[in-house]
């Protein structure tokens, strides 16, 4: 929890979306505890060969910037402008119509006008105008241009690490201006002078070395997997096997590392293991590619590519045919929109085909990587699994679309199909808050730290508020999602704003409902909670 005592929810909710008078062009940031993340530790800066290595904290008056920091940033900006059409175009064409203003969860939760996506972008745009456009060079602030000063840089840091790159605003923008692109570019620039946060750099560095964000070495991975198998033996009475680093398997399975470490991710992890055993999938885990998530994406395109390279490298080394990916948000942004470009072509793999149903996943024919809910929905559609929905009857479920599978992939129906097939009670949140209009958990893009808890809770307010609505209306007590960050971020968020609603993965629901061959009668769900007796669980709808 944050070092300062958190406000009560009703105090925190006391937000005004009416900006106070004043000129946003004056850079003004106070690094108040609870609203920003710690700086990256020196050890991890070193391991990744990052620029301007030093111990520093954003709250320090002196950020120990290199003497030529300004030139470095401006040169970097010029490079980005040449490399990305999105950057130049999005900086040029905004008309400041303000349609995006109240679409950002951080603005709704904090009322801070610089969290309106348009103003967040103006922080960068004003500097672009000053140094890269004739009108800005000549007319200065009358053309909306600002000098690049240390205060402006600090403001960038504060607000670009207060954006979760969720892309909700870009859905509403008449030109598709994507604040995620703007934030990514701003973070690339900040990195050039060594300004990044612990919660991004440490996982990235761990992932580079050990293959996963948590820094789990191979033997510990095996041990963890062993715990899960023991737990499943007790639960189902079945001795399940889970191969690791096995060459020649048909499928390489890659999940976010939180799945085998954190809670409630763990139950989703159990769900995967049960499913793969039940269908007899010829697959393997990998310790070298033991992470699907990619915190490099929150640092720079280059670091994202460096971390992502392991998945194809490992698929090649293990001589698998295709790759299956677990439940994770930004992992799927990387896999769906970047991986093939970064590290393809995957011409050593084959077009994915489900070994059970024969379905060809033509939508993944180039990247050769399939989302687990696509895979499972296909199995369910072809009746390959025996299910007992009533085992999920203690829960009234709603589904939270995770930002990236929603707005990068359009993965809306697959997870919902799995939920409907495995649960009796499913209720949607209001339509302005789901699918492509879904609200972020407020902790994505590397902002899931503890020290910034206040701003996380504020950012998560719109999501939580929609959950509250279905809780009051339908008695919803469980939120299902397909993102590891969600599973980590939403439990404290909901505990704060909507106590009494839990968080689970979609494959946890599947694991609960799955009737396994040779399995014993189940008395508890995957969490060890007693199953409601069938006669009490009748549907009251």
């Amino acid at each position: 929890m944050a070092e300062e005592k958190l406000k009560k929810p009703e105090e925190m909710f006391d937000v005004s979306l009416t900006p106070e008078a004043g000129d946003w062009m004056e850079p003004a940031v106070s690094f108040r505890k609870g609203t920003y993340c710690y700086g990256a530790p020196l050890k991890h800066q070193r391991y990744l060969d990052l620029p301007n290595q030093r111990e520093w904290q954003p709250g320090d008056a002196d950020w120990k910037l290199p003497p030529d920091w300004k030139e470095t940033i401006l040169e970097g900006m010029e490079r980005l402008i040449k490399r990305h059409r999105s950057f130049r175009l999005f900086l040029d064409i905004c008309v400041r119509c303000g349609a995006c203003a109240d679409k950002c969860h951080f603005f709704i939760g904090s009322g801070d006008p610089k969290n309106m996506p348009v103003l967040r972008a103006e922080l960068l745009r004003s500097v672009y105008r000053r140094y890269f456009t004739p009108e800005g060079r000549i007319f200065g602030r009358y053309a909306g241009a600002r000098d690049l000063t240390e205060d402006v840089l600090k403001e960038w840091f504060y607000y670009f690490f207060q954006c979760t790159e969720c892309r909700r605003c870009s859905v509403y923008c008449p030109y598709g201006i994507d604040t995620c692109e703007i934030t990514m570019m701003a973070r690339e620039l900040l990195n050039l002078v060594g300004c990044n946060i612990q919660w991004v750099i440490e996982p990235a560095s761990n992932c580079f070395r050990t293959g996963n964000h948590l820094g789990v070495p191979p033997h510990a991975f095996q041990e963890t997997l062993g715990f899960a198998l023991d737990e499943l033996k007790d639960l189902t009475g079945i001795a399940i096997e889970a191969p690791i680093n096995r060459k020649g398997a048909e499928v390489l399975f890659v999940a976010p590392s939180a799945d085998y470490f954190a809670s409630p991710h763990w139950y989703t992890f159990l769900g995967y293991l049960m499913l793969f055993h039940e269908i007899g999938l010829d697959y393997t885990w990998s310790t070298y590619a033991s992470e699907g998530g990619n915190f490099g994406l929150f640092h720079s395109m280059e670091l994202a590519k460096r971390l992502n390279a392991k998945i194809y490298a490992e698929a090649k080394r293990l001589k698998v045919k295709w790759v299956l990916g677990g439940e994770c948000g930004h992992m799927w942004r990387t896999l769906h929109q970047y991986m093939d470009t970064f590290n393809g072509p995957a011409d050593f793999l084959e077009e994915p085909v489900s070994p059970l149903t024969g379905t060809r996943f033509e939508n993944a024919r180039s990247t050769k990587m399939v989302h687990i809910t696509e895979f499972t929905a296909d199995l369910l559609y072809h009746n390959k699994l025996k299910l007992d929905k009533s085992r999920n009857d203690q829960w009234k479920i709603t589904f939270h679309d995770s930002c990236n599978p929603a707005r990068a992939m359009g993965l809306f129906e697959e997870p919902r199909y799995v939920i409907r097939q495995t649960c009796n009670h499913f209720y949607e949140m209001p339509e302005n808050t789901i699918r492509e209009k879904t609200f972020c958990c407020g902790s994505g893009a590397g902002l899931g730290a503890d020290e910034n808890m206040e701003i996380r809770l504020r950012g998560g307010l719109p999501r939580a508020n929609a959950v509250k609505y279905v809780k009051e209306k339908h008695g919803v007590n469980m939120l299902a999602c397909i993102c590891a960050i969600d599973k980590a971020a939403l439990p404290p968020l909901l505990e704060y704003w909507v106590p009494g609603v839990g968080v689970c993965g979609v494959h946890e629901l599947l694991g609960n409902a799955l009737v396994m061959k040779g399995g014993q009668e189940r008395t508890t769900n995957l969490r060890g909670e007693p199953l409601t007796p069938p006669d009490e669980a009748t549907d009251v709808r």
Binding site: P9, E10, F13, V15, K82, R83, H84, R85, S86, R88, D92, I93, C94, V95, R96, C97, G98, A99, A101, D102, P113, M116, V118, L119, E122, T133, E135, A143, G144, Y172, P174, Y175, G176, D178, P217, P218, Q222, R246, R306, A309, K310, E314, L335, H336, Q337, T341, N363, A364, R365, S366, A377, R407, G410, L411, F412, E436, K437, L461, N465, K468
Partner: protein
């Protein structure tokens, strides 16, 4: 502050052209030199900016997807909001450009105490923008009758539809009223919506005032000063055929109108008004959602330092061997 500056700026522009044309008689300057200069800046500037964007690489495949992807055959995909064919993309762009699809989605959030967020429809901005842009287009097309002799039939038809009410004389064009109302709304929104006011820059007010002044002078000419249309036609045909003549017997108001238009043209390539050309090139809208089907190439891709499996195994070999994990090298 920005608001008052932009009003002063507009007044200076109007005052300058009024004094120069009406009192000093600089008709060649305002009637010939300035329009040609402005036209040149517009064409060169516009083309330059669009080429600059079009030639900038799109290294990654980043559409913002707003509908169900194509995946399993029994799941209905959204062919427009998550396009996977060229037709889908074209449809998406057409909806975006002609009907402002994304703006149509707009909603507004209200904080309804205690502790409830309410999302209401908010299509006023969409309506204002639609009326403004479509009226502007019709007005531009109507002006073609000054530049083409004889005026094309379709323009005549458009004009007669627009002047449908036949009252007063000359007929009041519907689009003239519409564009005025739309401009009033857009301007009022900048002034009275606290969020929009907070983020507005000088150029935001200036663009609206400039277009508003052009529309006002145009309406004044048509309904109050009643300028000689044949003279104007002679003038515009002269401009187009590079054989310019300064019109005689047309009031100063025409020169003010013409100068305002020239300012707009010259200002255009340096301003946010370039959104007109930019929207078509937006990579979040004009790409198919097919990045797992077809590899997208990054033209400036370069090799990066990776941590290879060999390096990884070198670090962890002993531990892996001890727990029986397969290894490459003994």
């Amino acid at each position: 502050m920005y608001l008052s500056y932009s009003i002063i700026l507009i007044l200076i522009i109007i005052g300058f052209s009024y004094v120069a044309a009406g009192l000093l008689g600089c008709r060649v300057l305002l009637g010939i030199i300035v329009p040609y200069a402005a036209g040149t800046i517009f064409v060169v500037g516009f083309v330059y900016r669009v080429i600059l964007w079009a030639r900038s690489p799109v290294p990654f495949h980043i559409p913002a997807v707003c509908g169900q992807q194509i995946s399993l055959p029994w799941i209905k995909s959204d062919k427009i909001e998550s396009p996977h064919t060229s037709w889908g993309v074209v449809s998406r762009m057409v909806l975006e450009v002609l009907l402002f699809r994304s703006l149509f989605r707009n909603d507004r959030v209200d904080i309804n105490k205690p502790e409830r967020l309410i999302y209401g429809g908010n299509r006023w901005l969409w309506l204002g923008a639609m009326i403004f842009h479509w009226s502007l287009l019709v007005i531009l097309l109507r002006h073609l009758r000054f530049f083409i002799e004889p005026a094309p039939g379709c323009i005549e038809v458009l004009q007669s539809i627009d002047g449908f009410f036949q009252w007063p004389l000359p007929a009041l064009y519907v689009t003239n009223i519409f564009i005025f109302l739309a401009l009033l709304y857009l301007f009022g929104r900048r002034l009275f919506n606290p969020q929009v006011r907070h983020l507005s820059l000088l150029s935001d007010y200036f663009a609206l005032l400039l277009i508003g002044s052009i529309a006002s002078t145009g309406i004044l000419m048509r309904h109050f000063y009643k300028v000689d249309l044949m003279q104007i036609k002679r003038f515009s045909l002269g401009i187009l055929s590079f054989d310019p003549v300064t019109p005689e017997g047309i009031g100063t108001i025409f020169y003010v109108h013409l100068f305002l238009v020239s300012v707009l043209f010259a200002y255009f390539p340096f301003s946010k008004l370039m959104h007109m050309g930019g929207v078509l090139l937006s990579p979040t809208r004009n790409l198919m959602n097919n990045s797992r089907m077809k590899r997208h190439i990054n033209p400036w891709d370069y090799p990066v330092k990776v941590h290879t499996y060999e390096e990884y195994e070198d670090e962890f070999r002993a531990a892996m061997k001890e727990v029986g994990l397969p290894i490459e090298k003994e």
